[in-house]
């Protein structure tokens, strides 16, 4: 029968609506926590979540002209001044908004942040690279810009912003208080191209786990595409990133406390 074409999901599994609401920060704390716990132990939901994120990434890659969350203060619902003349622009705007709508809670106003000291990195830095990594924090219903040295909580959602400085390939890695290294961006085996040199909100957010302590975030910007796993494994093993020619790194230190 028509209404039974699709079998119900197992108890606790998230539907796409559930994922979308979670991603948009619209779930209450209880449901958010329940979703986190469930997805952490459910391979099917992990796969679906990854698939949805990949679909969103693919959309944005297919539409490089679509505006990212801009570095100004766009009011996307502001009435257009000249609809007829601006049809194509509005089309791009619509597509851009579509890709970003579910992350609409994140505003992007990036102010310059001084480079700070962290664990020693052997990555080459270059004058060319004014590449910068930044992030916004979503905590409950509140969104604020994070800064180097920020104190974060388990469950905080981070949305990264990056300025390529001409180095278009990017990956973001982290090393937490227990020495575990993770890849935060992109959800691929290799780096992903930034579509613009300007400040750009990346198309994925991460949710911090409950591991307390100091955590370092590394934005690795390179001229050419690179494999991420060798970087991650070296970072985990040695606490440093390996040397890569033609790359620059921007790193941030945050402190993670239990909720």
């Amino acid at each position: 029968m028509l209404s039974e074409l699709r079998a119900p999901l197992p108890e606790g599994c998230l539907t796409d609506l559930g994922f979308d609401e979670w991603h948009a920060g619209e779930l209450d704390p209880v449901r958010t926590r329940a979703s986190e716990l469930h997805v952490a132990s459910c391979h099917a939901c992990q796969a679906r979540k990854q698939m949805l994120l990949s679909a969103a990434s693919a959309f944005l890659e297919q539409h490089p002209d679509a505006p990212r969350l801009p570095s100004g203060q766009p009011d996307v619902l502001e009435p257009p001044r000249a609809r007829a003349a601006g049809r194509s622009r509005l089309r791009a705007l619509g597509l851009g908004i579509a890709g970003l709508a579910l992350a609409a809670a994140f505003a992007v106003l990036v102010r310059p942040r001084p480079v700070t000291e962290g664990p020693e990195s052997a990555l080459e830095t270059r004058a060319k690279g004014r590449a910068k990594l930044g992030f916004f924090v979503k905590r409950g219903g509140r969104v604020f810009e994070g800064a180097d040295g920020e104190t974060l909580r388990a469950g905080d959602q981070l949305r990264f912003v990056a300025t390529s400085g001409g180095l278009r390939q990017l990956a973001i890695l982290s090393r937490d208080g227990r020495g575990a290294a993770s890849v935060y961006y992109p959800p691929l085996a290799h780096s992903r191209a930034l579509t613009t040199a300007a400040k750009t909100a990346l198309d994925a957010a991460v949710e911090l786990d409950a591991t307390p302590g100091e955590e370092y975030l590394f934005g690795v910007f390179c001229d050419t595409q690179f494999e991420i796993e060798p970087l991650r494994s070296t970072l985990e093993r040695t606490g440093k990133l390996p040397n890569l020619k033609g790359c620059t790194i921007d790193q941030l230190r945050v402190f993670k406390e239990a909720r």
């Binding site: 209404s3 539907t15 796409d16 609506l17 609401e21 619209e26 619902l77 509005l90 709508a101 579910l102």
Partner: protein, 145 residues
């Protein structure tokens, strides 16, 4: 929105158009977004209605139904292309309230609770709607026999 529009309509071009038109509409009349609902809920409902309208546009009917449905599976859905085609054919002809329930239940795979939230009705009513969907399907089969 784009993901769902493509699932319902079966191709990227129409999905783009639907999303574009929805946002143009929102740019012109932002008050359509009622603040008493979440943005995600609002966008789900708006996308559903826009896709139904597009499917039912006479100019689009034949084209949308005759297109290769294989694209629908790009997003990893559980329905086969044939099943999705069956759903889309049904959407063209069934009453609006049933059509929306079918999209939420069959295409989106939502729970009765979620469907009730989107349709602003009770779970019992959702159950009734889906029963009517099955009755409608049976009556169509009988007619075709």
């Amino acid at each position: 929105m784009y993901r769902r529009a493509r699932q319902i309509l079966g191709n990227s071009a129409d999905a783009h158009e639907v999303v574009q038109d929805l946002f143009l509409s929102l740019l012109e009349r932002p008050d359509q977004y009622a603040q008493d609902t979440t943005l995600t809920t609002f966008l789900y409902v708006a996308t559903t209605n826009a896709c139904l309208n597009r499917l039912r546009n006479h100019k689009n009917r034949f084209r949308l139904l005759s297109e290769n449905a294989s694209m629908l599976q790009l997003t990893g859905d559980t329905l086969s292309p044939e099943q999705l085609l069956q759903v889309r054919r049904a959407l063209l002809e069934m009453p609006d309230d049933l059509a929306r329930a079918v999209i939420y239940a069959c295409v989106d795979g939502l729970s009765h609770e979620e469907i009730a939230r989107l349709l602003v009705c009770s779970r019992r009513h959702v159950g009734n709607l889906l029963s009517r969907v099955n009755d409608w399907g049976k009556s169509r089969e009988e007619q075709s026999c």
